[in-house]
């Protein structure tokens, strides 16, 4: 399954028209201890770049943006009771939202793993 990355440090793993998204290991490390996550209701339609979830560390709240447009098919409700999962396994168990893509061509504007790595090193 191809994985893409945004400049706002979200990842999106794509399988056909379905995708899973979350925040990257780099973002989780920068945030520090995650103490609260709020994910959207199923059925929410989001445009690319629209805020769709919130992640909070001890110190601050940050928005999580939709890497591409689509409709939310599942939210990771386990994060409500175990927000630390975002630190423990950000690109696995710590996923935020599953989406059906509205326009797969939007993926073309995202980075692959190598480009994202370079992007973080220069951040």
């Amino acid at each position: 399954m191809p994985i893409f990355y945004t400049k706002d440090h979200e990842w999106i793993s794509v399988e056909g028209k379905n995708a899973t998204t979350g925040i990257t290991a780099y973002a989780a490390e920068q945030l520090g201890d995650v103490v609260f996550v709020e994910t959207p209701d199923v059925g929410l339609k989001v445009a690319k770049g629209q805020d769709m979830a919130v992640v909070e560390s001890v110190k601050a709240a940050s928005d999580v943006y939709a890497p591409v447009g689509g409709e939310v098919t599942k939210s990771n409700e386990a994060l409500a009771d175990a927000p630390e999962t975002v630190n423990d396994d950000p690109e696995g168990e710590g996923w935020f939202v599953k989406l059906t893509l509205s326009d797969p061509s939007e993926l073309d504007e995202l980075m692959d793993a190598a480009a994202y790595k370079t992007f973080c090193e220069n951040a």
Binding site: D33, V58, A60
Partner: protein, 385 residues
């Protein structure tokens, strides 16, 4: 706020290299490069509550105020220098015992809070006629300019912010510091004295900003680096960043200047009426006395309170507080309590709603969420009185 300045103009403290070596993540704060975290805010917070945390607070504003008239000695000298500073603060400074420290507030002519600060009467007979004062880093330039203007020709200000100011905080702080500085454990809470380490003078004050027992140490920069390294070599001590400093003080119900207290608030609504001793209430000779004495007598219009969000979402600074569909106040500090594992906050509400257990609502991201007024502190303070 003056907490962020352009990064190229930032100052560094004498511990900058040591922070880097300890793996700090640095941020701009109060005009300095400061460590916001080392191992992580939660870990550092809990370590300070159970062991001992070392904080670099050299960005703050330690200074001495010295009477120019050196003909006075002892109590007379202390009375004279106290009469000067009492023009700006509502606390009784003249009645401090040698070696005693007191929290107070700097007031503008309307009784608004310009800063909170700790004033210490030195214990040493040769230092009577001097006060040791520590003001906040973010406003030290304004505070010192005010001192200079007000005391011109009568007292001189000697700033000490090129020295190293350290805080060692936590239940094991006493045992750790006892291995380095002879006699410092004889101090009790809010007492201060001059000691020696490595042939250098160290001002040790038993106080802090975490709610734990602990000490603040003012030491010449070079010795400060060596003393920090020695303290960090002790297994009971870890370096702690500004992130945990903030969560520790919030749990302990302590105010952050520029947030929980500002020039828009007088001390009574801020819950700091206890800094105004009886003698000063009777004399009423401090800036803004009319407004402050009226708030003492009739009760303030609003009150600083503890707030417990009843859901998991933290309420941050600026969150509006609702009651019966009306805005009744605002959150001034809010975050997450690592000790209690719940969100906690502080803010101001209409005075009639300030009672423990009152239900309120918080507007977080466009949604009203239930919360409750609660007593401060959230976590019991642990001072050695």
């Amino acid at each position: 706020m003056s907490e962020t300045t352009s990064p190229d103009k930032l100052r560094v403290t004498s511990l900058y290299d040591l922070h880097q070596a300890c793996g700090a993540r640095m941020v701009p704060f109060a005009g300095y490069h400061m460590p916001v975290q080392f191992d992580g805010v939660k870990v550092e917070h809990l370590w300070t509550r159970s062991h001992a945390g070392l904080f670099d607070v050299s960005h703050m504003g330690p200074c001495y105020l010295r009477l120019i008239d050196t003909s006075l000695r002892g109590d007379a000298a202390h009375k004279a220098v106290s009469a000067l500073i009492e023009q700006l603060v509502p606390s009784a400074i003249a009645t401090l015992k040698p070696g005693q420290a007191r929290l107070t507030v700097l007031l503008d002519q309307y009784g608004g809070i310009l800063d909170d600060l700790i004033i210490t009467r030195p214990a040493e007979p040769e230092l009577q006629g001097q006060l040791y004062i520590v003001v906040n880093g973010a406003v030290k330039a304004q505070d010192w300019a005010l001192f200079d203007r007000t005391f011109d020709g009568q007292a001189e200000l000697v700033t000490a912010d090129k020295q190293c100011l350290l805080a060692l905080q936590g239940p094991e702080a006493e045992a750790v510091l006892a291995t380095q500085i002879d006699g410092c454990t004889a101090l009790s809470f809010m007492q201060s004295g001059l000691f020696e380490w490595g042939g250098q003078p160290v001002r040790v004050s038993r106080l802090g900003y975490t709610g734990e027992d602990g000490f603040e140490l003012l030491v010449p920069a070079g010795a400060g680096i060596a003393l920090s390294q020695r303290l960090l070599a002790d297994d009971r001590v870890k370096p702690i960043g500004l992130g945990a400093r903030d969560s520790l003080r919030l749990e302990s119900g302590l105010c952050l200047y520029g947030h929980d207290i500002t020039a828009d608030h007088e001390p009574v609504e801020a819950g700091l009426q206890w800094v105004i001793q009886k003698s000063r209430r009777e004399s009423g000779d401090f800036p803004g006395a009319k407004r402050i004495l009226s708030a003492l007598q009739n009760g303030p219009e609003q009150k600083r309170v503890g707030i417990r969000p009843l859901e998991r979402a933290p309420a941050r600074e600026g969150t509006e507080i609702y009651h019966d569909g009306q805005i009744v106040g605002q959150v001034t500090s809010g975050g997450f309590s690592p000790s209690l594992e719940i969100p906690i906050a502080m803010g101001y509400v209409r005075a009639d709603l300030g009672l423990d257990g009152t239900r309120i609502e918080l507007m977080v991201r466009g949604k009203l969420r239930p919360a409750e007024i609660c007593q401060l502190p959230f976590v019991q303070q642990n001072y050695k009185r």
